[in-house]
């Protein structure tokens, strides 16, 4: 990587400033009590269905955070885990959490313990249900596959960062007849989850999960701010496309050339 490319360019400054402004503005307005609407996300609504199915069948739920570490993806995964464990604890259903990252393992253990405490059933928490398997990708995958088959899980939830092991897990989940819900920001793995899972949460829906499940005003505000930020990005793309197309059609228009040159200066092609 060149020395220049490791620091923020003017385009990054402009776009990030706008995004941060919209997100903070909407968080503050949501905290002041403004009602905000978010559309239904079937994959997230299916989490309750997955817990209900496992409860009816008297079998455990598997919650796999993939190969995520203690980062944004992993923390979002833990937020979803907390919701799932609370629901499951209410009905006395086990949730097995196999982990590949030792740091996230310690967090997951605390999250599960807290969820049982919050539901008033701390005695139902079994430390062996939150397991560190291995930090090697396929060793972890084979461990999870083993759990899927041995425990005959009724529901398998995959929320986190996945690589090639996604299909191995989802296909084995199919084999044991589990209802499967997946959510990952790894765009390369989304097709595999779509093919094998009952519900798949795509792209930024993954980051909407905590807001959607908790309906907490701060998180809802952040979600609406994100959408405004996306509108800004769409606006920049459309404006740039129109300007450059117009310049190609009418190359002699001076102000158009100046305008496209300014865009090219601040948003250079990488």
């Amino acid at each position: 990587m060149s020395q220049a490319s490791q620091y923020a360019s003017p385009a990054v400054w402009i776009v990030e400033s706008l995004l941060v402004f919209f997100i903070l503005w909407k968080i503050l307005s949501a905290r002041r009590g403004r009602e905000l609407f978010i559309r239904r996300i079937p994959g997230l609504s299916a989490l309750d269905e997955a817990v209900g199915r496992a409860t009816e069948m008297g079998k455990p739920i598997l919650f796999a955070p993939g190969l995520s570490g203690l980062d944004i993806v992993g923390l979002q995964s833990m937020a979803i885990l907390s919701h799932v464990v609370r629901k499951a604890a209410r009905y006395g259903t086990r949730v097995i959490v196999p982990l590949a990252d030792p740091v996230l393992y310690t967090v997951a253990e605390e999250v599960a313990k807290d969820a049982y405490n919050a539901e008033g059933v701390p005695e139902r928490f079994d430390p062996e249900d939150v397991r560190f398997l291995s930090d090697r990708q396929f060793a972890w995958a084979s461990g999870v596959v083993g759990i899927l088959h041995r425990e005959k899980v009724a529901s398998a939830l995959y929320f986190g960062y996945y690589f090639a092991e996604s299909l191995i897990l989802a296909e084995n989940g199919q084999m044991v007849g589990a209802i499967q819900v997946a959510g990952t920001p790894a765009t390369t793995q989304i097709p595999f989850f779509l093919a094998s899972c009952d519900y798949t949460i795509i792209g930024d829906e993954y980051y909407a999960a905590s807001a959607y499940l908790s309906r907490e005003p701060t998180l809802l505000g952040s979600l609406v701010g994100q959408d405004l930020g996306k509108l800004v990005i769409i606006g920049i793309i459309v404006l740039g496309a129109i300007a450059f197309t117009a310049q190609a059609v009418c190359p002699a228009v001076g102000w158009l050339c100046d305008f496209t040159a300014t865009i090219a200066k601040y948003f250079p092609r990488s």
Binding site: L19, I27, P127, F132, L133, I168, Q174, I233
Partner: protein, 278 residues
């Protein structure tokens, strides 16, 4: 200046210096832990929020402030010089947590062996393989005698390259079979969308094999009709509709992760785990 101070702190130490630094680090860690636990609960969250904010501020300044801003010659961002040290600190935390992970494995498999429940042999296999590779690895790195070292190197190579790498490759190769069964389910034409996906997949598959190009070989190589050649349609599907969708998803993910990062940095994140009493 800042970089050199940190470099001095982070430089490798040996002998008595290593012992002094290790004891110092442990004492500081214990002191910080005692201070945090003796702090009234209502202030603990504030301390954690302040530490989170300062840690995030480092990365924000490191990335956002260009080298030209700093009054240094040659122009450079002094915060970048500390980055290797920050990465090392992260690795150290990870190593400590790994011990906890290993302890968890020992507890779960130890209980399985003691109870002699179903599949206890698998748990016994864990202990055997763990101790074998640990022993071979330690002997390989820390023995002086050439015979023991050579023998342990051979054992380590057999265990690592012979077993572990082969098992990894086995798991990876299973994906080929799973792709077939997943594709069978995905390509069943049950709706208009599934039909469109099936057609797109068929065109791309044909575009990637010689027989596909042969099918539309009768079309001209140039001109309007050439756009209907299978390889060109396949290329267009991959680089236009597919790429546009992928970029749209990537934009959404980037904005989502920025929002989540901002919430955590400013301690605005909510939920059971984040709202808990510390």
């Amino acid at each position: 200046m800042m970089g050199s101070v940190w470099n001095w702190i982070a430089a490798p130490r040996y002998g008595w210096q290593f012992a002094v630094f290790l004891c110092g680090a442990l004492s500081l860690g214990c002191l910080a832990l005692i201070m945090l636990t003796s702090t009234p609960p209502r202030y603990r969250k504030t301390i954690v929020a302040a530490v989170t904010f300062l840690a995030g501020l480092y990365y924000a300044f490191e990335f956002l402030i260009p080298p030209a801003f700093w009054p240094l010659e040659p122009p450079r961002n002094p915060l970048s010089e500390v980055q290797p040290l920050v990465a090392t600190l992260t690795q150290i935390i990870w190593s400590f947590a790994l011990l906890l992970g290993v302890w968890n494995l020992f507890v779960i498999h130890g209980r399985a062996v003691v109870k002699r429940g179903r599949g206890w042999c698998n748990s016994a296999a864990f202990f055997i393989s763990f101790l074998a590779i640990l022993g071979a690895g330690l002997l390989k790195d820390y023995t002086q005698g050439s015979t023991i070292r050579k023998a342990s190197e051979s054992v380590f190579t057999i265990l690592f390259s012979g077993f572990l790498t082969s098992l990894d490759a086995t798991m990876f190769s299973l994906i080929a079979f799973y792709i077939v069964s997943a594709a069978y389910r995905a390509f069943r034409v049950k709706s208009l969308e599934a039909g469109l996906m099936m057609a797109a997949a068929a065109i791309i598959m044909l575009a990637l094999v010689p027989v596909g190009a042969e099918i539309t070989n009768w079309l001209p190589q140039s001109g309007i009709l050439s756009a209907l050649r299978v390889e060109r349609v396949g290329y267009w599907l991959l680089t236009s509709p597919n790429m546009a969708a992928q970029r749209a998803i990537a934009f959404g993910i980037a904005v989502g992760s920025l929002a989540m990062g901002l919430r955590i940095w400013l301690s605005l994140e909510r939920g059971n785990f984040f709202d808990r009493q510390l």
